[in-house]
Symmetry: C2
Subunit: 342 residues, 2 copies
């Protein structure tokens, strides 16, 4: 089985964006604020948006299952207050739940949280609980910078975040550490902010003892870990300077990297440097990079081709990257698969 641990609902029907625009307008003009119930998207519309996009490409590429969460760049936690984020997260999570219900063999949901800058993350717990208990979500996306590029929250190692971690441990769900749109003109969203956040999150963990407090907490760092594998020697050396244990003991029981790296040399480096037990297959399809690479004639984000072509990976290594690791890192996914005999 080939499990893509990083897919977002980037192709939702237009009505969703229209509703969101109305909600944003409603922040300034409360009378114009739409209700959640004003949004109507039929099952047929959902089906169509998936069949012609993600599912079509999954079939083409031989991907069996996608862990599917709301569109990352649309989370935009910096917009409005907790109430705005809360309504928006509930709507987006419900849509992913419905998609998973329509294609139960193909999509398993992961939740966005109703984060809001300066607001206690504990406020996210009711939505998190709902998504796990009622919607069968197997993971969350946690935004380390709900300000959208101004980085006003404390580091992930701060007790600020502990209420979320306590629930994650209780439910045995990992968090993908994933920022949203940058509203800082310095940072291009998908070309800088995403990768910077990946590197930043890793270093926040490295300098701390977070995983002593939460030995079973699991973070998935997307986009191949940002700059981390390329600079693995730098990070090993910094950990050494700081008197920390070897990275494999200090972090690699808890941190995993996805394979959203869009060329062969990148995947080769990832698989050469990072232990195979810490690599999870993913494509973030349909996402930031949708074109055909003129150097290969294939889509940049068809990451399975790079995994297949990697000379570093044995057959059993590939099984881990495609399936085995995901079952271990996402125990609720494994349980759901086992319950249906998969």
């Amino acid at each position: 089985m080939i499990i893509d641990c990083h897919g977002h609902y980037t192709t939702a029907p237009k009505a969703l964006e229209t509703w969101r625009q109305a909600q944003i307008a409603g922040i300034r003009d409360r009378a114009a604020m739409p209700r959640a119930g004003d949004l109507h998207i039929s099952d047929d519309e959902l089906r169509e948006s998936i069949e012609s996009n993600q599912l079509r490409l999954m079939k083409q590429r031989g991907i069996d299952l996608t862990i599917f969460s709301p569109r990352a760049s649309f989370m935009a936690h910096h917009i409005g207050d907790f109430e705005v984020s809360s309504t928006w997260a509930a709507i987006c999570n419900e849509l992913c739940f419905r998609v998973a219900g329509l294609f139960p063999d193909r999509f398993v949901p992961a939740a966005m949280l109703p984060q809001s800058p300066g607001v206690d993350p504990a406020t996210c717990i009711p939505e998190l609980q709902r998504c796990v208990q009622q919607y069968g979500n197997v993971a969350i996306n946690l935004n380390p910078d709900p300000s959208g590029g101004h980085w006003t929250s404390p580091p992930l190692s701060d007790r600020h975040w502990y209420p979320i971690y306590e629930k994650m441990v209780e439910y045995q769900i990992p968090a993908m550490i994933h920022v949203s749109t940058s509203c800082n003109a310095c940072f291009h969203t998908t070309g800088a902010h995403y990768l910077n956040a990946d590197t930043t999150a890793f270093m926040q963990c490295l300098t701390s003892d977070l995983f002593k407090d939460f030995p079973t907490l699991r973070f998935v760092i997307p986009h191949g870990g940002g700059a981390v594998p390329y600079h693995w020697g730098r990070f090993r050396g910094l950990a050494q300077e700081l008197g920390k244990p070897l990275l494999k003991d200090h972090l690699l029981n808890n941190i995993f990297f996805d394979t959203c790296v869009y060329h062969q040399p990148g995947i080769d480096l990832l698989s050469r440097v990072i232990p195979v037990d810490n690599i999870l297959f993913a494509s973030e399809m349909i996402g930031a990079v949708r074109g055909i690479d003129p150097e290969t004639g294939h889509p940049y984000d068809d990451t399975r081709r790079y995994i297949e072509a990697s000379s570093m990976l044995s057959g059993s290594d590939r099984w881990k990257v495609y399936e085995g690791n995901a079952r271990r890192v996402y125990p609720r996914l494994d349980a759901a698969l086992q319950a249906r005999g998969a």
Copy 2:
């Protein structure tokens, strides 16, 4: 000849730091503000600080010449106002000039600028001119985020920065795009902020047409280009989505990457992905990562070993990385070398 294009004076005599602490204290208590003339460091002290550190390691590693600039993390442009930065930059640049004078075959100076958050970069030009005309500096370090991790300046593509670029073009000097200490708790200085800034700067160039306005402007992106080479496919794909030319035409006449990547797989990726004409040898020695890599028994930052061991590079490629590219990217260095028959 082996030229290291990225060395900082990280080992200056203690008196420098003591003076800086007094200056910082003087920001709140003007009566206590030291004068530049209060700092006394003898030639013997400078000589000793270099001979026992950088020069010792250069000899060990067979590095002939270092482009030498003030300690990056100590630039700390966020501290105080323009006046504070101006005095501090003048002192630091003078020290690097004196080091170059004491070891003329070994060190060539590059300047830090007296940047200050919210202050017009044009204010940096007198110091830049002094460093080029009187001190023989062959390059500058340009900080894209003088706020120290809050990213409050416009992107490098903004006209805000053009006065600096006009002088760079006039003098034929490149800028290494190098941030300083992070005072944002989210970003570890050398483990996150530096790498993030490298990636950010590259993407600011990618989304813009800066090099149409300045076809001969040259940026050196340090630390192996941050996350850029590892995600080269992503950047190629993003440029394509944005309707930009191929990266080699769009950016690689103007952007160069150094080799401050502290393990073999990273250097292998860099030399596999980035055209050899765009790679400049560097170690940032003595810098952030000073230890011995237990996996190799050699210092992490002994980057020459990785270049030597790279199977991607031919003999003539290595000549470019070590010397040829530096002579092209730093024309004033080449002129100075030629003037002395080197």
